[in-house]
């Protein structure tokens, strides 16, 4: 099969490129090494839409961050993704911090961030009463927000799939060859050919670059960040994202609400040897606990419902690298996308489309373009519905009256729908990320049996063949005696 554009990677950047390009009359393929969209850094990060005052003036990061942040509301509205423009606060504890905050404000203004304001102690505590009493000032950024990162990636991918983009999962690219009319991308078993290639491969972008013999002019350092997720009962700990004043090691440990009403704490930043190492450590959890208590001394970390880690691709240059390969025509690197990659993503998508245009890709809009996740519109979970919508959903499909996950009020209707969406779920983790079943305080203690049964029934497989996330992750080990 020959495609106009082959996108490698279905993280937030790849999914965004697929979304932006699927508006046009193009054959698009997305190759993903994992079994699902958002399998890498997109799955586990702080989920913050940064306002854009962190990146140095004049960098690509600064430009795309501010622009991406501005685009987020409209994008998430169009696709039915949880997004909350909650604003953020960089909290200062002393004179040094105050100076840094002044610098950040100036930088933000140069970058084009709107509404930045420095709060005094009184105003800060009025806004967020749980912030440490020893805090003296803060930079308030009203344009910052929070989003569910994997749901955004699902939404983008589902829209692209609905508009004809083809997704290949478990496609771990092992070689890329030049052909007469483009490139042949192979995983050792199958080959997908395309004229234009976009490498949006996160922590693996350096390895992909090597495959076309065009190594990136910088290093990708895999840095693991660990997180703690707190029960929704603690959701009122803070209404806004709280940062400490950044230093040379980065943005530090933050405390923020999530788009779904939990509180998240983290991350630390430790260089790992293995790119896929998303294990958590006791030391790491202690480190982020300490960091969180510095911002919010009375934070109830005992309400932790889970801990997790993600690995982000930190470029040694600390800027995004998005451009056509100097050696290989029509091959676009989308590399070094660390934080604020999520916030920048809508602008990254546009930026890549512009590069492709310059490369000569013809963009003709589709007359029958579908702007939502599916032909039927976006997917609304029972838990997001109003009473009236719930009533109507149940009348149409009684499975919406059967609550499977009692912590999050996820129904069998939601689960069955997830299994049959444009990018279908067939493992319990895939169902979990699409529906939130098992993401509540009992962490699947009650719903895991039910979800496994529903998956087995819908796919026509025995329950003991249902997997958690693919490969050899079967939940059960056969029948009882």
């Amino acid at each position: 099969m020959f495609y106009d554009v082959v996108i490698i990677g279905a993280g937030i950047s790849g999914a965004m490129c697929a979304y932006k390009l699927s508006k046009y009359k193009l054959n698009i393929a997305v190759l993903e090494a994992g079994i699902d969209v958002a399998a890498g850094s997109t799955r586990a990060n702080s989920a913050i839409i940064h306002a854009g005052y962190d990146a140095k003036e004049g960098t690509l990061k600064a430009k795309l961050n501010v622009k991406g942040c501005e685009m987020m509301q409209e994008l998430t509205d169009a696709l039915g993704v949880h997004y909350k423009n909650c604003g953020s606060l960089v909290v200062g504890f002393d004179d040094y911090d105050r100076e840094q905050i002044e610098i950040l404000k100036k930088r933000g203004e140069t970058n084009g961030v709107k509404g930045l304001r420095i709060l005094d102690k009184r105003e800060l505590h009025k806004m967020e009463p749980n912030v440490s009493p020893s805090a003296v000032c803060a930079l308030f950024a009203p344009t910052a927000g929070i989003v569910c990162p994997y749901d955004l990636a699902f939404a983008l991918s589902e829209n692209a799939a609905t508009n004809g983009a083809e997704f290949y999962f478990n496609f771990k690219v092992s070689s890329i060859e030049k052909t007469d009319n483009g490139y042949a991308v192979s995983d050792g078993n199958d080959t997908v050919c395309g004229k234009y290639i976009i490498s949006a491969t996160g922590i693996y972008c350096d390895e992909i670059a090597k495959m076309i013999d065009d190594p990136l002019p910088f290093e990708i350092i895999p840095r693991r960040g660990e997180y703690m997720l707190l029960d929704k009962a603690e959701g009122k700990t803070t209404q806004r994202t709280l940062f400490v004043t950044p230093n040379e090691n980065g943005k530090g440990i933050l405390v923020t609400p999530t788009a779904d009403g939990n509180i998240i704490v983290g991350p630390n930043a430790n260089v790992v040897d293995e790119k896929g190492d998303t294990s958590v450590t006791i030391e790491g959890l202690e480190e982020i606990s300490e960091g969180a208590r510095r911002l919010v001394p009375n934070i109830n970390l005992g309400a932790m419902i889970t801990s997790f880690a993600g690995v982000r691709p930190t470029p040694s240059t600390r800027d995004f690298y998005i451009q056509e390969s100097e050696k290989c025509k029509n091959f676009i690197h989308v590399a070094g996308i660390e934080s604020p990659g999520l916030a920048s993503s809508p602008a990254i998508g546009d930026y890549v489309v512009d590069i492709l245009k310059k490369c000569g890709l013809k963009l003709v809009e589709k007359p029958d373009y579908i702007p939502t996740r599916s032909k039927e519109g976006n997917f609304k979970l029972f838990y997001d519905m109003t009473d009236k919508e719930r009533k109507a959903a149940i009348e149409k499909n009684p499975l919406y009256a059967k609550v499977v996950c009692r912590c999050e009020n996820i129904t069998e209707g939601d689960v069955v729908n997830a299994i049959h969406r444009p990018i279908p779920a067939y493992t319990s983790d895939m169902v979990k990320r699409r529906t939130r079943s098992g993401m509540g305080r009992c962490q699947g203690g009650f719903c895991n049996t039910k979800v496994a049964e529903i998956i087995a029934r819908e796919l026509g497989i025995p329950v003991d063949q249902v997997q958690k996330f693919g490969k050899n992750s079967n939940i059960l080990c056969g029948k009882t005696k």
């Binding site: 997720l229 009962a233 998303t278 294990s279 958590v280 450590t281 006791i282 790491g284 959890l285 932790m304 419902i305 889970t306 801990s307 997790f308 009473d387 719930r390 009533k391 149940i394 009348e395 009684p398 499975l399 919406y400 009256a401 059967k402 609550v403 009692r406 912590c407 009020n409 129904t411 305080r441 009992c442 962490q443 699947g444 203690g445 009650f446 895991n448 049996t449 049964e453 329950v463 003991d464 997997q467 958690k468 996330f469 693919g470 490969k471 050899n472 992750s473 079967n474 939940i475 059960l476 080990c477 056969g478 029948k479 009882t480 005696k481």
Partner: protein, 426 residues
């Protein structure tokens, strides 16, 4: 829809409350039990082991048998119930919203509500366990459900963390189903479950018990391939350098139960941080007038027999409330606790001075102690006056205990407007 008494939860607590209310004069048709599973009985339905009913019936029954005694009564009395129904909210005006395939989206207005939602298990996420997040990690209850209800084996080589009764029972159950239970680890220096279960579930099957030890790391990318077990110090902190890798494919967690009070919280009902359940008075009425709570949603019980006894009384109190016999008294008397007491239920008293015994002739006080006592002296005082004093041998912090308040004692408490429970070494 309007009902006199709506009971949320059709487990042992809800069933007993319904029976109590009916037997105290509430019409069957004026009661509704809302149950989220397909059948009444709650978690008892997945308990195929015996040991239920020794206190209440004086015989040894399986969980299912115990439940069916009450379900038969519900059928006999023709008390209506709806299954596969999940309550979404309880409002301050006692309007209950629920969904079910049978009735769709339903609102019911109740005069009295019984909260009987039970409890859930603590999950891995609440512990600081390092490592990966592969498949093969189960709470004891979900492992039990997979084995006893669905007929599937969660794993073949199993480590169990926590020595609560469910953990011990699952050690035996999984062994009988062909799995190898490598060990049961317990952080504390003594078992949380009963001595009987240690004998019958571990010793009879040569399953080793490791006290003062916990799981500190989970290993495995796709499926669990092992867990690191470490010794802990007296503060339950893992001791460095004591980690031992145990090769296994499954970790079963039996690390405690938490009352499920989401609906209670949303209704604005006051909770007790010690029990994680509602604050109640002697009728087990919560801070919201006409809303009662019983069973494991109120405080986690050791055995179901106590749940039944407690919940029958709550049913009676509901009937009294509906008939207007319970006159809400604005001044609530706090039931204070001394250092040796972890919690007490009820946490408050709210007597009608003229008719203290109008509904219940005597009042059961449930409590847990904060440490173990060889010989404990339990006293209840009011204004320094000793109302009750009993000596009990071998009082363990892992067990629930109870004493009974008579009408006379209640009169003193009502007169003095205060009460305190203390436990000291005798």
């Amino acid at each position: 829809m309007h009902k006199s008494v709506v009971i949320i939860g059709g487990g042992p607590a809800g069933l007993a409350a319904a029976i109590g209310a009916y037997e105290s004069g509430v019409e069957a048709n004026d009661i509704l039990i809302i149950e989220r599973e397909k059948e009444l009985g709650g978690v008892l339905n997945q308990c195929v082991h015996t040991g239920f009913g020794l206190t209440y019936f004086g015989e040894e029954l399986s969980g299912g048998e115990y439940a069916s005694r009450f379900i038969e009564k519900i059928e006999e009395y023709a008390i209506p119930y709806v299954t596969e129904a999940t309550v979404l909210s309880v409002s301050k005006s006692k309007v209950i919203k629920f969904v079910s395939p049978q009735l769709g989206y339903t609102k019911v207005k109740a005069d009295a509500v019984v909260l009987a939602m039970g409890c859930r298990e603590r999950s891995r996420g609440t512990l600081n366990i390092a490592g990966t997040r592969p498949s093969g990690i189960f709470s004891a209850g979900s492992a039990q459900r997979f084995v006893n209800i669905e007929g599937y084996l969660p794993g073949k080589r199993i480590v169990i963390l926590g020595s609560g009764d469910i953990g011990l029972i699952m050690a035996r159950r999984l062994t009988l189903e062909g799995a190898k239970v490598l060990r049961v680890c317990e952080m504390k220096s003594h078992v949380s479950g009963s001595a009987r279960n240690v004998e019958q579930c571990l010793n009879d099957f040569d399953i080793p018990l490791y006290l003062n030890s916990t799981v500190t790391k989970i290993v495995g990318e796709e499926r669990v391939t092992g867990v690191v077990v470490s010794k802990v110090d007296e503060n339950f902190k893992p001791i460095r350098g004591t980690g031992e890798l145990v090769r296994c494919d499954t970790l079963v967690l039996s690390i405690g139960l938490i009352p499920e009070n989401e609906l209670t919280t949303e209704a604005g009902i006051k909770l007790d941080k010690k029990t994680n359940g509602a604050v109640v008075d002697q009728y087990f009425q919560t801070s919201l007038s006409g809303v009662f709570a019983c069973g494991n949603v109120l405080h986690v019980h050791d055995i179901v027999d106590y749940v039944t006894a407690e919940s029958i009384n709550v049913g009676k109190a509901c009937a009294g409330y509906v008939k207007g016999l319970i006159k809400p008294n604005k001044t609530k008397i706090p039931f204070e606790i001394s250092d040796g007491v972890k919690y007490v239920v009820p946490q408050t008293f709210n007597f009608d001075p003229k008719k203290i015994d109008i509904i219940l002739k005597r009042f059961v006080v449930y409590f847990r102690v904060s440490r173990d006592y060889e010989k404990a002296k339990i006293t209840i005082t009011s204004n320094g006056e000793e109302l009750l004093s009993v000596i009990k041998n071998n009082i363990h912090s892992s067990q629930m205990h109870s004493v009974i308040l008579t009408k006379k004692m209640a009169q003193v408490i009502e007169k003095n407007k205060n009460a305190k429970i203390s436990v000291t070494e005798a």
